[in-house]
Subunit: 472 residues, 2 copies
């Protein structure tokens, strides 16, 4: 009798695991339970759909449910919610469209993802307050901005619920709460659509994972683009008018708005795991070993519900990003198919687009964080041109690089600029994986030609300056 | 009495060394002898000056002679040719503008650079045959293309000699001999100026340092741009009409031309070194240790006249490129100033622009070369999108990656595409410096956001496919 691999959750980690397992072990029965109506979609692409750069919602779906079933032979069940896991009997309890049933498994992957957090204030459940954690929400936001229901779009039942607006106000002024990646991307695409955007951030700067040297470049650019920044301001509540959000209330006063997008972060969905006796780590996400195994036999966890190993910190961290989700899902798929495969660590690389700027980071960039791990962080910030001084398209790139004083080891970097920053951070990320010193980074043989770089790439210049500071 | 540091040659390596030495040890007398009229200029920028993208020749000069003298305190002597070095008496013999004299030194840097090679055929010394090894030649080519002497430009005596055309033909059809970086860049900028370009290459493909998988993408693009390729064709001579070049003659016939640019490579200028008893390596360039010291006491060599240590091959190689020249010059400057500093190795990273394409390489990509070093090379080629499938500006990137079968060690890669290839090769270069395996590259935490990458960057996809091939 063939074995059964059950996957809970049909996004990046879940569908990567299902696809790889079925491909490598065609005899395996692979069953995926997804409580919503979509699988394998690009959450990172939703802001660009709202912007209108991406025309159709369908474009964000990498592989359709039909393709998973018909072409990949995966038993994919949409609108199926897993209610409980019993690791003793190796069964999951599932609520389907018509009934609740049990499904046995030989291998189980928990890929339950993350949920958006909201600030602990009144009003976050009002109509026209969104968090952008699903295609349905993206759909509803764009529909609202486009001025009413788009009849050409096939709204599913979750979407219809979200999109049932109480009024038909034209959302001209929009409050964005939280200035992390989602908040900045939403502020950017909404202002690109001509909205009057007010961005609220509790701390003094946008992008908490970045130093002020980088964050202020982003802030200046946002202001140039016409976004009103409310930095160092706590949101105390959301006010309503006729049941819909009408103002963002802060300790400094009230700002009238027609819509609110909350981007204050995510938390791992772990209820199912906890109920099944699966251990969480200190971060609150599911703890796993290098093979993505939890403490329960044959139960794996991957994606935004689980911890990852941070290579520089050398400890588990909660870094819910797409690449690790895909990669770890794929590793579980190989393992389940009979080829034990490690998921691999992360260095915390991330990038986003804000207007004309690319903003990227990797590694440990926060001094306090680095010190808590026993490092003595030294940082330097440089600004240098992206191309030869005489070549068109040159733009300044600001690089803040951090290293450990004693060992000279590279710890991380933040970077911002309008010309090829996203792929420059990869050089730093690769150096972090390799455990390089700043002196070694300074000596890297990077590509130079006038249209693409200066002789000393900004990454090398940053390393040169930081190495000089370490010598002092 | 203060010490004297004498530098022979005022380009990248020489001026980097002089500047760093004087900065770190202000009491040092730093004397630079440059036989031409320019120092510290961007040879790599010359094609873009000829194209017209760079308007003035002056823009290619990073630091002027006056700045070196007045601001950096360097005793820079233009039009001074060093005729001989006597390591026994620590003196150099110099021919200046008016006389020949001796200059003693405590430290000497040979930074004599490289000379363009020409094919061993008749006619390479004809008027209107250029090699693009000096600003004077760049100036002369552009002057010719612009239709006569440009009175606004200050032509120096070498330039005047080069630019003394015998006729006033309008150069519409141009032969480019050699399809390396200089040849391709010149073919590209000349066709961008509207010239009818014929590119001649003895081997079957352009860019000998690349595999056919990458080269053919470049060839197809060149043809689209209207360049006529003569591949696998040996040039047998250059014919003349009224003393100026009039045709490129090949074994397959004669192609009439109005101008010829020869880009068949460079050879290190070593005559001075050889006469002084400085040893050359097997490559024919000056041999040095990690500190750029030659076999003669206190005689250093850096830049295009010297070998560099190739990290992947783990042997000296001749790789005359700008970054190593600058870096090694700077290291010599520090060393001479009292802080012994290694120059650092290279991995052979290079990039060029051909039309809309970025073409880049790093490491060992030639199978025969890899085998001669004891590796068992395995290569795979993939083509993948540069950005998310739904994001505008996405372009295909072709990556050919090579690894050693037994160790799984990454050996090198070639890459071509129209969207951010130059800085993607840096990831591979960094991995080569770190001695990573392909499996380690596959697990790198690289940056992802829809405007800049796919979830699996093309570099990761290439590593994934190659790792799969190594498993077979």
């Amino acid at each position: 009798m063939s074995e059964t691999f059950v996957v809970v959750g049909g996004d990046a980690a879940g569908m990567s695991a299902a696809s790889k397992a079925k491909r490598d072990a065609p005899a395996l029965d692979v069953v995926v339970f997804e409580k919503g109506g979509y699988v394998s979609y690009s959450a990172c692409g939703m802001p660009y759909y709202i912007e209108g750069t991406v025309e159709d919602l369908d474009e964000l779906v990498a592989v359709t449910p039909e393709e998973f079933v018909d072409e990949r032979g995966i038993d994919l069940r949409l609108y199926h919610e897993v209610l409980a896991v019993d690791p003793e009997t190796r069964t999951v309890t599932v609520r389907g469209e018509d009934d609740t049933f049990e499904q046995s498994y030989d291998h189980l992957l928990l890929a339950t993802g993350a949920a958006a957090t909201t600030p602990p204030v009144d009003g976050t459940d009002l109509s026209c307050v969104f968090t952008l954690r699903s295609l349905d929400e993206a759909h509803a936001i764009r529909e609202r901005l486009d001025g009413g229901p788009d009849e050409t779009l096939d709204l599913d039942r979750d979407g219809q619920a979200v999109a049932s607006f109480l009024t038909d106000r034209d959302p001209r002024r929009i409050g964005v709460v939280g200035a992390g990646y989602v908040g900045l991307e939403m502020a950017d695409v909404l202002r690109a659509r001509g909205c009057d955007v007010h961005l609220f951030q509790r701390s003094a700067h946008v992008l908490s994972g970045y130093d002020a040297d980088v964050a202020t470049v982003v802030e200046d650019h946002l202001r140039e683009l016409g976004v009103t920044l409310h930095l160092g301001v706590s949101v105390t509540g959301l006010a309503a008018d006729a049941g819909e959000v009408s103002a963002v209330e802060t300790e400094e006063g009230s700002v009238p708005v027609d819509m609110v997008v909350v981007g204050t972060g995510v938390r791992p969905r772990t209820d199912l795991a906890v109920d099944a006796g699966v251990e969480l780590g200190e971060t609150g996400a599911i703890a796993t070993d290098a093979y993505r195994r939890t403490n329960r036999p044959d139960v794996y966890a991957a994606g935004d519900c689980a911890e990852v190993h941070h290579v520089v910190a050398d400890e588990p961290r909660y870094v819910p990003l797409a690449l690790a989700a895909n990669r770890h899902g794929r590793a579980v798929g190989r393992t389940v198919a009979g080829d034990p495969t490690v998921g691999g660590g992360v260095v915390g690389t991330a990038v986003t687009k804000v207007g004309d700027l690319e903003v990227a980071r990797t590694g440990l960039t926060d001094a306090e964080d680095a010190r808590s791990l026993g490092f003595d962080p030294v940082a330097r910030t440089i600004t240098a041109g992206s191309r030869a001084s005489y070549y068109p398209g040159r733009a300044p790139i600001t690089v803040r690089m951090v290293a450990d004083r004693d060992s000279g080891k590279l710890l991380g970097a933040g970077m911002v600029g309008a010309d090829v920053v996203a792929k420059r951070i990869d050089t730093v990320a690769t150096a972090l994986h390799a455990g390089m010193t700043v002196a070694e980074v300074e000596r890297l043989d990077l590509a130079y030609a006038p249209p693409f770089s200066t002789v000393w790439d900004p990454v090398l210049t940053a390393a040169k300056v930081l190495a000089g500071a370490l010598d002092e």
